[in-house]
């Protein structure tokens, strides 16, 4: 029994966790369908209805007037990741209740690494969902430049990690599954609506300056803008910095929350 794991063994551990998360996702067909139906309803129905109501000026990264459907697509992409991140953390709470979390945490790999693998696995699942959504949206005349599909990948990985880490952090603070519905309402809806996903922020500012600043402080806004710019082969540096900083902060906080030395799990007081 050698003292340390080799890099190859670290890779085996990562691929094992990603593989399991992928299998679980494939087994839960309803989850896959609802992950797609949700943004498609927004795209097909909400956006069609709103198209005439909301006038958009030409704002970066767009170089011409765009349809409302085109505008909200990046927001919907990140919404998929937001739901996935929360669902992934929901499954961590479920795993903890069902004991699967114990099986993960008694692995001899460092705990931060196990959580990081879990985070990456959740992000990989969200990427699959987003690209299937984009493929369907293509037939709805959402046609970003071909290279945009590639350019958006790193942005999606980063936003997926940020939202997954946020979900993980939230999951560490939740006692039971029943408490989760409330958190979904308090996290998902405010994050989504107080952002640039559905309307440009200059429009929000016209309505309420205070809300505008709330939207600016919302990391979800920056994830949406990062993805929006990347989809059109551009970089929004401020959003990149905010999303990167939030990702690191949420990951550190989540790792600390699951660290046995700090013992959030132990405070739950099992017998």
């Amino acid at each position: 029994m050698s003292a340390r794991f080799t890099p190859a063994q670290y890779a085996i551990c990562l691929s094992g966790i990603v593989w399991r998360e992928g299998l679980r996702f494939l087994h839960q067909r309803e989850r896959f369908v609802s992950a797609l139906v949700r943004p498609l309803v927004w795209l097909f129905i909400f956006a069609a209805g709103f198209r005439q109501v909301l006038g958009l000026s030409i704002i970066p990264p767009y170089e011409t007037y765009v349809l409302y459907e085109v505008y909200i697509t990046p927001g919907l992409m990140v919404m998929i990741q937001l739901f996935n991140g929360m669902q992934s953390s929901l499954s961590m709470v479920y795993d903890r209740e069902m004991g699967n979390m114990r099986a993960l945490l008694v692995s001899p790999f460092p705990r931060w690494y196990l959580l990081w693998c879990r985070l990456l696995a959740g992000t990989a699942v969200s990427l699959a969902q987003v690209y299937v959504f984009l493929a369907i949206a293509y037939f709805w005349e959402i046609e970003p430049p071909p290279l945009g599909y590639l350019a958006v990948l790193p942005a999606l990985i980063l936003s997926g990690l940020m939202l997954g880490a946020l979900g993980m952090l939230i999951s560490s603070a939740i006692r039971q599954l029943e408490n989760f519905a409330g958190v979904m309402n308090f996290v998902i809806f405010p994050m989504f609506f107080a952002s640039s996903a559905l309307y440009p922020l200059w429009r929000v500012r016209e309505g309420s300056v205070a809300l505008y600043y709330v939207c600016q402080l919302n990391p979800f806004t920056h994830a949406v803008e990062l993805v929006r710019f990347a989809l059109y082969e551009k970089v929004d540096w401020i959003s990149l910095a905010v999303v990167a900083a939030c990702t690191v902060a949420f990951m550190i906080a989540a790792a600390a929350a699951y660290d046995p030395a700090r013992g959030l799990l132990a405070r739950r007081g099992e017998g």
């Binding site: 029994m1 085996i12 839960q28 001899p108 046995p260 405070r267 007081g269 099992e270």
Partner: protein, 249 residues
């Protein structure tokens, strides 16, 4: 390696708020021995397991697995440990093979080696033909056997089981107990078997009696029974816990 205890617990205490779950618990386990950890529900067995597996932080005391401190060298300690928790920890929607492969990956074992180990492990527990079945399709006893096989995939010299026969019928209980005893005898695995059922304890086992977070007796079964002036394990357990109650009162 033979002189190093399989498990050494020294002065371990743990509390949930004001409620003390473990109070200065200490014992040493020899390698390749079956040790029964006997205690009623709420005695502190599961808390002790959570501390040994590092799910909870160790606030007072020290735990070493084959000489490796769980707090200071968690990786080395956990690599020598196989665990079967009281709650089922298999993924019901995945197949038996997929569950075992996942566990192997968590120990850095690649898929080729994992499928070989899984085939061997399942053959040993008589479930070779169920390898591709979903876990959901197995009986409670079969799931437990798969969990034991899984816990041993990385060949740990110490296996700890927290009330592994809870909820099983008499036949399944006897089969699992016999299988674990065989592991001790033939593979030299050290076993900690937490239970509240005295009929699961054999005369040649080592016995630790845990009651309300304290150790009341620790030694070979015959010695514990003799020291308690009892006729058998059941009697000894009743006397020891009654005395402890009297002392507390």
């Amino acid at each position: 390696m033979n002189n190093v205890p399989a498990l050494a617990v020294e002065g371990v205490s743990h509390a949930y708020g004001a409620r003390t779950a473990l109070d200065s618990v200490g014992f040493t386990l020899a390698p390749a021995r079956f040790t029964a950890l006997l205690g009623l529900n709420g005695a502190g067995k599961s808390t002790l397991f959570s501390l040994i597996t590092r799910l909870y932080p160790l606030r007072a005391g020290r735990i070493r697995i084959f000489g490796h401190d769980v707090a200071r060298e968690p990786s080395a300690a956990l690599r020598r440990l196989g665990v079967v928790f009281q709650a089922r920890t298999l993924d019901l929607d995945l197949s038996v093979a997929q569950n075992l492969a996942y566990h192997a990956a968590l120990h850095g074992i690649g898929s080729r080696a994992a499928s070989r180990l899984a085939a061997d492990a399942l053959a040993q527990i008589g479930l070779a033909e169920r390898v591709h079945d979903k876990v959901r399709a197995l009986s409670g006893g079969q799931m437990r056997r798969v969990e034991i096989a899984r816990a041993l995939m990385h060949a740990p010299p110490l296996l700890i089981l927290d009330e592994p026969t809870v909820g099983l019928d008499i036949k399944a209980r006897a089969e699992i107990l016999a299988h674990v005893r065989m592991l001790v005898r033939e593979r030299g695995v050290a076993v900690v078997w937490a239970t509240h059922l005295v009929d699961e304890i054999a005369d040649d086992d080592a016995l630790i009696v845990l009651h309300r977070g304290r150790i009341l007796a620790d030694g070979p079964v015959a010695q514990v029974v003799a020291q308690a002036n009892a006729a058998n394990v059941r009697d000894a357990f009743t006397r020891l816990t009654r005395d402890a109650q009297d002392d507390a009162a």
